[in-house]
């Protein structure tokens, strides 16, 4: 099946942006099997859905600025938090890093020309778009947008008259897209590493995307079948989960969380990979504890798949079950902490350059520490029973998913966009925007910890007057955050249109393979597949300097 393409090039190799394949213009993008172009397709579509999801979140916060009705009725509010959840979880956080940066950079980081199955890769993107369209249909179709929350708990999800079926189908199709990407990446990492690149010479983001891909492959089918069963149950009134027909709704919760808890590791692991990638570059140091960071990704993927029932401590479970799941939850914090310690150890005595990517990474560490430690609190049975279903949980979740993964995505955008497009954004604007985003984020979510602890339930439309101050602060935080995000995106768009052109290969001084190729990359990535001799992040000169400095002291 050797397909040979001959291109007249005037001796030059066109970048993937200028490359003329079989199709031109728009079709040249949506029919391209080039992993870089597919990465850009994902970039545009995922960030668009992010803005939609953020808008819903913004409106929810606005409604909660004061007790009672502010801008929407309770039914709309229920639909909005469902849509915010479904869009953010299934269309943004889960696919974001693997699909955008994994597609674009995974093959380059391992020294390959493309992924193992390029056409399957394009199919995944089409499935993503179909899933997105179904989600949009569920909003606008008659019947009203789904109002079950993104968890689709039975029996409400088989009883409500709203468009739950479209939302369920959307999640099902998106899951399929996620599975195919996972299969592709696992095979790619196994089969296409450049000669000499042994497992312990692969960059750390490859390790994390690889672990994520396994989780995608192993748990996504469970949610696929579970959501499909709910669709079947709703359409044909088959007795499966509905207690009226002899089913067991708690069983639905188990099957749902068997996927949806590991899914949070699908969300966070790639972001951890980004952090491990960026820290050594801006500290000019070899990463501390390479093997521990690499293997902790695998450990998180493994243990993270065994803790799902900690979402159901109050749903009815034996004491033994509660004890085991609580213990396993604690165990996940060990590999997570190993990563955080190694990152900070890498920064120690490094020659730190506070560029925009590193700022977001530092915020990641700060916020992930808060999110992670409150996660340990929630894993403790006594505390969980007290704060279950309060905004404490919402704050914890957003500190990990937005403060962690979200900031990881922002860091990756600042780190890799210049490489992807050969244009530089305004660094000063990026640095000041960071502070808006950082302050806005913390002002938005920190008050939720406090009011949750004081007893403010999550997903409530109305609240008692004593919670007013926290809700007010939180809503003000959402304004600052959304302003920061809008400025950030504008900065990127301006950069793409008339930013400074760069052709320098290595703008940040990184030591991984993507910095050895042209900016923007040529269609084939590498003219000759490189042979790898050294581990990534060597920074030999710096390491010698540091050692000499210590000896002098």
């Amino acid at each position: 099946m050797n397909e040979t393409i001959t291109v007249p090039t005037n001796g030059k190799h066109p970048s993937y942006l200028e490359y003329k394949g079989k199709y031109k213009g728009f079709l040249g993008w949506v029919l391209s099997t080039d992993h870089k172009r597919i990465g850009i397709l994902y970039l545009v579509s995922i960030l668009s859905f992010f803005l939609v999801g953020a808008t819903f979140g913004f409106l929810l916060r606005l409604e909660l600025i004061a007790p009672g009705r502010t801008i929407m009725d309770p039914q709309t509010y229920n639909s909005f938090f469902t849509l915010h959840g479904v869009i953010m979880v299934f269309l943004f956080v889960i696919p974001a890093i693997p699909a955008i940066f994994g597609n674009f950079f995974l093959p380059i980081l391992i020294g390959a020309r493309d992924v193992s199955f390029p056409r399957l890769n394009l199919l995944s993107w089409y499935l993503y778009i179909i899933g997105g369209l179904l989600a949009i249909i569920s909003i606008i179709a008659p019947g009203g947008a789904a109002d079950t929350g993104w968890t689709f708990y039975i029996p409400y999800s088989v009883r409500t008259g709203t468009n739950v079926i479209y939302a369920l189908f959307a999640a099902f199709v998106l899951g399929f897209s996620s599975i195919l990407t996972g299969i592709n990446f696992v095979t790619t990492v196994h089969r296409l590493r450049a000669p000499g690149m042994t497992w312990f010479k692969t960059p750390l983001s490859v390790w994390s995307i690889y672990s994520t891909a396994w989780v995608q492959v192993l748990v996504t089918p469970i949610i696929g079948i579970t959501l499909l069963l709910v669709v079947i149950e709703r359409t044909f009134s088959v007795g499966l989960f509905d207690p009226a027909l002899g089913g067991d709704p708690v069983l639905f919760q188990h099957l749902f969380w068997i996927y949806s808890h590991p899914a949070v590791y699908i969300m966070i692991l790639p972001a951890m990979g980004i952090v491990s990638e960026i820290i050594p570059v801006f500290a000019r140091r070899t990463i501390f504890g390479y093997k521990f960071i690499a293997l902790s990704s695998v450990a998180i993927a493994f243990f993270g798949s065994l803790v799902w029932a900690h979402h159901m401590f109050t749903a009815g479970m034996s004491n033994t079950g509660q004890f085991i799941f609580s213990l396993l939850t604690m165990i996940v914090s060990i590999p997570s902490a190993i990563k955080v310690f190694n990152w900070t150890a890498t920064l120690y005595k490094g020659s730190i350059e506070l560029a925009p990517p590193l700022l977001y990474v530092l915020a990641f560490i700060f916020q992930f520490a808060i999110g992670g430690l409150t996660g340990v609190m929630l894993g403790i049975l006594s505390i969980d029973i007290m704060v279950h279903d309060t905004s404490f949980v919402v704050a914890h979740f957003h500190y990990v998913m937005f403060g962690g993964t979200g900031f990881g995505i922002f860091a990756a955008l600042h780190y890799w966009l210049p490489k992807m497009f050969g244009r530089m954004y305004n660094i000063k604007v990026a640095k000041s925007t960071f502070w808006l985003v950082f302050v806005g984020f913390n002002l938005l979510y920190f008050p939720m910890f406090i009011m949750g602890w004081l007893g403010m339930p999550r997903r409530y439309y109305d609240y008692l007057p004593e919670f007013h101050i926290y809700h007010l602060l939180s809503t003000i935080g959402s304004w600052i955050l959304i302003l920061g995000i809008l400025i950030m995106f504008t900065n990127f768009i301006v950069a793409l249109i008339r930013g400074k052109k760069i052709t320098e290969k290595n703008i940040w001084g990184g030591e991984t393979l993507e910095w050895t190729i042209d900016t923007p990359p040529i269609h084939e990535n590498f003219l000759e597949i490189p042979t790898v001799h050294e581990a990534p992040y060597e920074y030999k000169q710096n390491e010698t300097d540091i050692r000499q400095f210590q000896e002098v002291k």
């Binding site: 393409i5 193992s116 299969i183 089969r191 089918p221 009134s237």
Partner: protein, 206 residues
């Protein structure tokens, strides 16, 4: 300005990679059905008597017959790969065709089996079924969903094998390049294996 031709081998061939991808996909299929097997085992534990009663009403003879058909089709599938490896193109196409015929036979039996149940008024949401105890409602729910989803896999398999027949005919699948047929074969064996579990769970354990 001289125009140089630049040639790149763009899509490489990696049979091991293709097989690995298929095995990973089969994993996901097993887990997909695994979710339903979990449901089955838990509900069987909850409603042992109702499951016992309901399973007695299923037609073991048709079930056994279908098992034999699917097992044979797996054999013809494997033989078609062996044939193409020995460069016997028309034999391979013939064996693939037999596989499709057997799959069709399976579906026809399934059709008669389901219509018999339907004519007795036993189908999801029917009055007859809803009047039965909840254990039996759940049993038939699982029966229709699991065998239905398996049937869907049989149909997908038939379409895939038909495409492979065309590929073999056009010479895309040949003695030194048969990984496509091999991966479809793997898929077909999975369809077979799932039935091997469905058959005792629904028909034999009464």
């Amino acid at each position: 300005m001289s125009t140089q031709e630049h040639t790149v081998t763009h899509i490489h061939r990696d049979d091991i990679g293709a097989r690995m991808g298929m095995w990973l996909f089969l994993f996901t299929e097993l887990l997909l059905f695994g979710g339903m097997f979990i449901l089955y085992s838990i509900y069987r534990y909850t409603y042992p008597d109702a499951f016992h009663l309901a399973a007695k009403d299923l037609n073991t003879i048709i079930g056994t017959f279908n098992t034999a058909i699917l097992l044979t089709s797996s054999l013809t599938m494997a033989l078609s790969i062996a044939a193409i490896q020995r460069d016997r193109k028309s034999l391979s196409i013939f064996l693939q065709f037999i596989t499709i015929l057997l799959a069709l036979g399976f579906m026809v039996n399934k059709y008669f089996e389901w219509s018999a149940k339907f004519s007795h008024g036993i189908y999801p949401g029917s009055e007859v079924l809803l009047a039965k105890p909840s254990g039996e409602i759940v049993f038939y729910g699982l029966y229709y969903v699991m065998t239905g989803l398996h049937g869907l896999h049989v149909i997908i398999g038939m379409v895939l094998i038909a495409i492979m027949m065309r590929f073999t005919y056009k010479g895309i699948i040949k003695a030194d390049s048969y990984v496509k047929l091999e991966t479809v074969g793997l898929y077909w064996h999975l369809v077979d294996i799932i039935w091997i579990f469905l058959f005792p769970l629904f028909y034999l354990i009464t």
